[in-house]
């Protein structure tokens, strides 16, 4: 009983996405999804759809340049600390020097980028992605009953 409760709660919280599990009781535990006839075509079709292409483009347009930028900024910081200690030791104000400003700058850019990414995902991606999720699951459920 406990087990059933658990599944119901998970289903309710996940808006009933466990479609198909009941029809495949002997399915291998770690198979990612019910591999039903037609499911492969559905995923290919969704992948080619303009809505999905748009979600992917929006994600990659933000995530890839941002990753490149912060990795370069971090590597520049590490290399500067090892290769140009003289520059890093130059004082800025009082006891604070370039190295200290650069280090705290890394913290600041990390927080800012986290905020920017969360905002971008929330406003530009989440709604379309969720719609695609329900649509795809509707389609695969149909394929399962065939």
């Amino acid at each position: 009983m406990e087990q059933l409760d658990e599944q119901e709660r998970a289903g309710a919280r996940d808006d009933g996405t466990d479609g198909g599990a009941a029809e495949f009781p002997r399915q291998r535990a770690d198979a990612p999804a019910p591999r039903v006839p037609g499911a492969a075509e559905i995923y290919l079709e969704v992948q080619r759809s303009p809505a999905f292409q748009e979600v992917r483009r929006r994600y990659r347009r933000f995530a890839f340049p941002a990753t490149l930028a912060f990795l370069l900024w971090y590597l520049a910081y590490v290399v500067a600390a090892t290769a140009a200690p003289g520059l890093m030791a130059r004082p800025v104000a009082g006891a604070v020097n370039v190295a200290m400003v650069a280090g705290l700058g890394q913290f600041l850019t990390t927080f800012l980028l986290t905020w920017a990414y969360a905002r971008h995902a929330r406003l530009r991606r989440d709604r379309v992605a969720l719609q695609l999720r329900w649509d795809t699951q509707e389609m695969t459920r149909g394929a399962g009953q065939w």
Binding site: R13, P32, V55
Partner: protein, 531 residues
């Protein structure tokens, strides 16, 4: 440094923490019949805030709390570079890994890769490297636990150390085998709250001592370090010859890329219901971890300013006791009630930190053994035992192995072992994960090569490095097998992992499976069909 009062109070707080965590374990495991969802993922119903605290509790180890502050107290600015690397690494997790992994997998790293590859070889490869990373990280924490608790409790003898390692190992096996992910998560949440509270209290006391004047804190630290202004710039620890500098860049690379390949961090994303919740938990944890590492910087410079680098070094050559000494001083000095209480609190927090981290790693590696290795290797004979039963047994075996290795490696440097675990994670786990998520043409052979192409060089390069032989500080100073000058292999082995994955893919005969790639990509970005 340690008197009877400290010991009694610290032991009392230790026992209280152990009692509370055992209570949590009993409470959450009542009437639960181990399903895999329950054991590995705690039912997947944690809130983003709870998971954010648990991630922070899983990630911030005693090596960070005591080690980084100690390094800053001894070497000034060079210690701060660790704080930066450990935080920036979370951007890789947030931007490229967390949401997609939550959508594609069920319990482990291998789930994500196996979704679009021929399952058996990929699962065995990814499972092996996950276990290797976890065991290395676990040994590092055990060694740290042994020396720290022995140090903090005053028993510096070999017996105290041995019993601490055995005790920590036994406790983590109990938490994981009986309580699974649910108990582990709550222990990590409690630990994260304790650690943050302790760190905030010490930081506020340091800032009050300097009347909120950071400038005077820094200049006093520089003055009392004996290095003057050089203390506030880079170069005191890693400024030697070019080998030392390259070694530092190698470590920096391993730190920033390794976090996204740590199995115990990846498994935490499966404890929340959706990818959006996974993203929000990472945001919580970035806030907590960022705040924590900023405070370790204040504590490090505070220890240098209030205690002095020489006195810190006299107490422990690698600086691990800087924070406890600082707590003693901030509370009013040795012998005062305030000093005794603060010291005992710091010792108890360090102990809680170690227990929570080892529990998380043990759980992740038992999941790799049961879900990836056992499930793949035993298929021919049919499964005779339930997966959760195998995982519980695996936790006990891993605990025993970690105790054994922890006792053998008792004299190895903890920071080095952590750096090595990060290097192996970055070389063996990250390339295969990123290729699977983002490269359309990636094949099974590419995946297998990416794992072994990173894992084998990383381990071999360490075996022929100055860590093992050929220098006075080596594990075997009498032998000279040294062929590779750097202590951390990351600079070479991380690119090799990516290269091997690419080479395996372009030379494989099978064409990439377009349909399964489409499935992985659609699932990753939308969450369709995610469990």
């Amino acid at each position: 440094m340690v008197t009877g009062d400290h010991q009694t109070l610290a032991l009392l707080l230790f026992s209280a923490f152990v009692a509370v965590t055992l209570g949590i374990t009993t409470w959450v495991s009542r009437d639960r019949h181990g399903s895999t969802e329950e054991f590995y993922a705690g039912g997947r119903l944690f809130s983003p805030m709870e998971n954010g605290f648990a991630i922070a509790g899983d990630y911030m180890s005693a090596a960070s709390f005591l080690g980084i502050s100690g390094l800053i107290a001894l070497y000034g600015y060079d210690g701060m570079l660790y704080s930066v690397g450990f935080l920036v690494a979370w951007l890789v997790v947030l931007l490229l890994v967390a949401e997609l992994v939550r959508n594609c997998g069920r319990f482990t790293l291998a789930d994500v890769v196996a979704a679009r590859m021929s399952e058996r070889p990929v699962r065995i490869a990814a499972g092996t490297s996950s276990v290797a990373v976890s065991v290395l990280y676990l040994v590092a924490q055990m060694v740290g636990a042994g020396s720290l608790v022995a140090l903090l409790l005053g028993g510096t003898g070999a017996a105290a150390r041995t019993w601490t390692v055995i005790g920590v190992g036994a406790l983590m096996v109990i938490y994981v085998s009986l309580g699974g992910m649910r108990a582990t998560t709550w222990i990590q949440i409690v630990k994260a709250v304790l650690l943050m509270a302790g760190t905030v209290a010490l930081t506020v006391l340091v800032l009050i001592r300097f009347h909120g004047d950071v400038n005077s804190l820094l200049s006093t630290a520089a003055e009392r370090s004996g290095h003057g202004d050089a203390f506030l710039g880079p170069g005191l620890k890693y400024g030697g010859d070019w080998t030392a500098r390259l070694d530092f860049i190698s470590l920096g690379l391993a730190l920033v890329l390794g976090t996204a390949g740590l199995p115990h961090i990846l498994s935490r994303f499966y404890t929340v219901p959706t990818a959006r919740a996974a993203r929000r938990s990472v945001i919580w944890s970035i806030g907590l971890i960022g705040g924590f590492y900023l405070m370790t910087i204040v504590l490090g410079f505070g220890a240098a300013a209030l205690i002095g680098s020489d006195e810190v070094r006299a107490s422990n050559a690698s600086g691990n006791t800087a924070v406890p000494l600082l707590a003693l001083d901030l509370g009013g000095g040795a012998g005062s009630t305030g000093g005794t209480v603060l010291f005992a609190v710091v010792a108890a927090v360090a102990f809680a930190t170690i227990l929570a981290v080892v529990a998380g790693i043990t759980l992740a590696s038992s999941a790799s053994v049961a879900h990836d290795l056992y499930a793949s290797l035993s298929r021919s004979g049919g499964k005779r035992y339930s997966e959760v039963a195998v995982a519980r047994t695996a936790a006990a075996v891993i605990g025993a192995v970690a105790i054994g290795l922890g006792l053998l490696a008792a004299d190895l440097n903890v920071a080095f072992l952590v750096g090595l675990a990060f290097a192996v994670a970055a070389s063996a786990n990250l390339p295969v994960l990123l290729f699977s998520l983002f490269w359309r043409r990636f094949t099974t052979r590419g995946a297998v090569w990416a794992v072994y192409g990173g894992l084998v060089p990383a381990v071999l390069l360490v075996l022929v490095s100055p860590v093992v032989s050929g220098s006075p500080e080596s594990l075997f100073p009498g032998v000279d097998l040294q062929l590779f000058p750097l202590q951390n292999p990351g600079l070479v082995s991380v690119p090799l992992g990516f290269l091997a994955g690419w080479l395996g893919t372009v030379t494989s005969h099978e064409p990439p499976d377009e349909a399964r790639h489409a499935e992985t990509e659609v699932r990753a970005l939308t969450g369709a069909g995610a469990v």
